[in-house]
């Protein structure tokens, strides 16, 4: 799935979050969007499946502008896009198993007797075998994110959007999630978009790194070029993030 974001503006009252933002998301690659806290990364991410609408501009998904489409017309598209929310986005009233099966049940994509087997298979892909009957409130944040990924995989998405997938996780768990994202991208050839300020994940996973600053993308570079960029804003960002990471370790 290929996406082009063209000249989008988005404000919430007097807060102008996105200003004339342009972004290309190539098919089959991992596109990373970085920026400081509150820079609008999650807001931008939510525009891609149409969960938010820009005030102006276009979002072209496989050649079709989704901005003017009504909500009902977006539902078929969203079945091809999976969103892994920062908090996991699991329904707290359903078990882990029911959460993973949610898309299959609601869209009748599998026979009822086959669903438990599919759930088991997806949970084993994310190394959560046997957790079907747990409630989301009783598992860790990292496990909730992995359940969310398992849920996404049941619908065989063309695009997976990750909102701060390693936020709040300890380094070993963050590495697990990174490995999972990489494996999904390579093995399933899924287009991936990740917003994060975890530089370890950025340099491990990204095919392209996009710097979001003051509402627009100021640079779009491969990881090595990004790291060695002479752009002062990027260097300040990298330095700040490494400094913050060092403080956490100490």
């Amino acid at each position: 799935m290929k996406i082009e974001v063209k000249n989008i503006y988005k404000s919430f009252g007097d807060n102008h979050v996105l200003k004339d933002l342009n972004l290309t998301i190539p098919e089959g690659k991992i596109t990373v969007i970085v920026g400081g806290s509150g820079s609008g990364k999650s807001v931008l991410l939510k525009h891609l499946p149409g969960l938010l609408r820009p005030d102006s501009g276009n979002i072209i998904v496989d050649g079709r502008d989704i901005v003017p489409l009504p909500e009902t017309a977006l539902f078929p598209l969203r079945q091809r896009i999976a969103v892994i929310f920062q908090s996991g986005g699991l329904l707290s009233s359903l078990t882990v198993g029911d959460n993973v099966a949610l898309g299959l049940v609601e869209h009748r994509l599998a026979k009822r007797d086959k669903i438990p087997e599919i759930v088991r298979e997806k949970l084993s892909l994310v190394r959560l075998e046997g957790k079907e009957s747990e409630m989301p409130g009783n598992i860790s944040v990292g496990m909730r994110k992995r359940v969310s990924i398992a849920r996404a995989l049941t619908l065989h998405p063309d695009l997976i959007l990750y909102d701060e997938p390693t936020a709040g996780l300890d380094p070993p768990m963050a590495e697990n999630i990174d490995d999972l994202i990489l494996r999904l991208s390579r093995e399933l050839r899924v287009t991936s978009v990740m917003v994060t300020h975890d530089l370890t994940s950025v340099f491990k996973l990204a095919d392209t790194v996009n710097m979001l600053h003051e509402g627009c993308i100021i640079e779009s570079l491969p990881p090595e070029e990004f790291k060695n960029s002479k752009n002062q804003i990027i260097q300040n960002f990298i330095r700040r993030e490494y400094h913050a990471a060092a403080i956490m370790i100490l």
């Binding site: 939510k46 499946p49 969960l51 009902t72 539902f75 078929p76 598209l77 969203r78 079945q79 896009i81 999976a82 969103v83 929310f85 920062q86 908090s87 986005g89 699991l90 329904l91 707290s92 009233s93 949610l102 898309g103 609601e106 869209h107 969310s148 849920r151 619908l155």
Partner: protein, 256 residues
């Protein structure tokens, strides 16, 4: 002065926004009702919540409403030598007004508030966005089952509450006012008309629709974390109770 006028403007804007939003949600629920069979489990769960789980409270409120009505009016009737009419007074009061209104109040406070809080919590924790991102319509998944449950169970619960209330009234009449059960129930059934029962059922249908739409709308439009959830819950109860009384007046006025 300008601040005051801006405040008034904000209040009216909110009222018109909310009214439009709730009417839109009502229309969407009516459209989604055709998927009620595919959402059967969710609908049944909500019907249990509205009906079965509210029975104990409805029993207590219904019984004491009947007993208090019987006591308050019975004493005055006895002074006039008209205590034999107590069955008619209790029956008509419960069927025409107190049964539908008090039962709606109970369900709004118990179930409506819980729905607003639950859906509001889902709203602030991105669960609604997760549903939308999976291509699942929040109205079909969350609001429609509650709408169907409230509209079907509210009449049944109200009838139950009225029956318990009438029995409570009989208890007081027999033991305190010395009116026999035979006289109590004869006067009641002589006074009660089919029109009263139809009016009662209309009210319960409308009240069920109001409480489900108001609580779901409050939940779906929740913002600002835990504080927002609390505010939505409170709004849901206040708006529901107010709309019950407004609807009660107009239904009685034009259908009564």
């Amino acid at each position: 002065m300008i601040t005051f006028l801006k405040r008034i403007e904000a209040i009216f804007t909110d009222i018109f926004d909310s009214t439009g939003g709730m009417l839109l949600l009502l229309m969407q629920c009516l459209i989604e009702v055709k998927f009620v069979l595919s959402s059967a489990r969710r609908v049944l769960r909500q019907m249990l919540e509205v009906g079965w789980n509210t029975l104990p409270l409805a029993s207590m409120i219904g019984m004491f409403t009947g007993m208090i009505t019987s006591l308050q009016t019975g004493v005055e009737l006895k002074n006039l030598g008209l205590q034999q009419q107590i069955g008619a007074i209790v029956g008509l009061s419960l069927v025409r007004e107190m049964g539908p209104v008090f039962t709606a109040f109970i369900v709004a406070a118990r179930v409506g508030a819980s729905w607003a809080a639950e859906i509001g919590a889902m709203s602030v924790s991105e669960e609604i966005d997760a549903l939308r991102s999976l291509g699942i319509r929040p109205v079909r998944f969350l609001a429609m089952p509650r709408f169907v449950a409230a509209v079907t169970m509210q009449p049944l619960l109200t009838i139950y509450s009225i029956v318990v209330g009438i029995w409570g009234g009989a208890l007081v009449s027999v033991n305190y006012l010395r009116v026999s059960q035979r006289v109590y129930y004869k006067r009641l059934f002589d006074a009660l008309k089919t029109q009263d029962i139809i009016l009662c059922l209309w009210k319960t249908l409308v009240f069920g629709a109001i409480l489900s739409i108001v609580s779901c709308y409050s939940g779906l439009t929740t913002e600002n974390g835990a504080e927002g959830v609390g505010r939505s819950t409170m709004r849901s109860v206040v708006i529901s109770l107010s709309l019950f009384l407004v609807a009660d007046y107009f239904i009685t006025r034009f259908l009564g």
